[in-house]
């Protein structure tokens, strides 16, 4: 049986990262894949809709808000049930949720880091938290050598950073 890669993304919009996740799923044939999408309070979930269209395994984790602790327990249940070989987090929220949910489990977490926008105070804060949280992950995938250098300069030194 092929190992399972669990991709996690919390964004109601279907943009570049979501396209890449779908691309990885459709082209990495040596693995099974499942996508977890996190949506708050009944907001639209374009990634889940796309998975449905493309016949890709997915599961929606719904919560009252981005800060609803029930999503940690829900994610922990999913991890126990699906036993993924690897978790891939695509965004600061899922990185933090994964670290909390997989506590005590022997599942590696790979963080995809595509760039920190710092578009407002809240995002800046969560991006700073993610940079700290990455130290507890099992590896980082950066989108360029320059960005990998930036991550190292901002304190992400504990884990291997691989560039794709």
């Amino acid at each position: 049986m092929k190992p399972l890669v669990l991709h996690m993304r919390a964004c109601n919009f279907f943009g570049g990262p979501e396209r890449q996740i779908i691309g990885h799923v459709k082209h990495s044939h040596h693995f099974n894949h499942k996508i977890l999408s996190f949506s708050d309070n009944g907001r639209r979930d374009d990634l889940a809709d796309k998975c449905l269209q493309e016949d890709i395994a997915f599961e929606k984790v719904t919560s009252k808000s981005a800060y609803d602790p029930s999503s940690v327990f829900e994610l922990r249940r999913i991890l126990k049930d699906s036993r993924p070989a690897v978790i891939c987090s695509h965004g600061y929220r899922t990185t933090i949720l994964s670290l909390l949910a997989k506590s005590g489990m022997s599942i590696p977490l790979i963080v995809f880091s595509r760039g920190h926008t710092g578009e407002n105070g809240k995002v800046k804060l969560f991006e700073a938290i993610e940079r700290k949280a990455i130290a507890f992950s099992d590896g980082v995938v950066a989108v360029s050598n320059g960005y990998a250098d930036y991550l190292r300069q901002t304190g992400v030194t504990a884990k291997p950073i691989r560039v794709v």
Binding site: F13, H24, S28, I110, Y147, V164
Partner: protein, 135 residues
């Protein structure tokens, strides 16, 4: 908007600028609203129609890509150089066509899903093996 675009318009009066991408900053949207020559698309369903062109980029914009200045794209890091590079592509149709073609070929050759998937597969396998080793 302050330096490059006026310099381009000074020599190419009919030039238009399209800024593509979701969630444009409010200040940018306000700035652009009064300019007939500039269009802000916001979110688009598919970005490809906008990028199938010859490219001018800063070094940072092309970071991590195996591109060569003058062959696959033009690199320009100052406003004056950037405006000059865009003007060069406007006036040299042969260069514009060859650069667009060459950029496309590079992407098709180097940045295929298959190659990316191989790299990612290696990363996933290494992470799982390392975790197993530590336990």
């Amino acid at each position: 908007m302050d330096e490059i675009w006026p310099a381009i318009r000074a020599s190419h009066k009919d030039a238009s600028l399209t800024i593509v991408g979701r969630n444009p900053m409010k200040a940018l949207a306000e700035r652009v609203s009064s300019l007939e020559s500039v269009k802000l698309t916001g979110t688009v369903d598919d970005v490809r129609p906008y990028v199938e062109q010859a490219v001018v980029s800063t070094k940072v914009g092309a970071e991590g890509l195996e591109v060569r200045h003058g062959e696959n794209l033009l690199i320009a890091d100052t406003p004056a150089d950037f405006a000059q590079a865009v003007s060069r592509l406007f006036t040299d149709g042969t260069l514009r066509a060859s650069m667009g073609r060459s950029g496309r070929q590079l992407v098709e050759k180097r940045y295929q899903w298959r190659r990316l998937s191989e790299k990612l597969g290696e990363i996933w396998r290494d992470a799982a093996a390392e975790k197993a080793r530590l336990n």
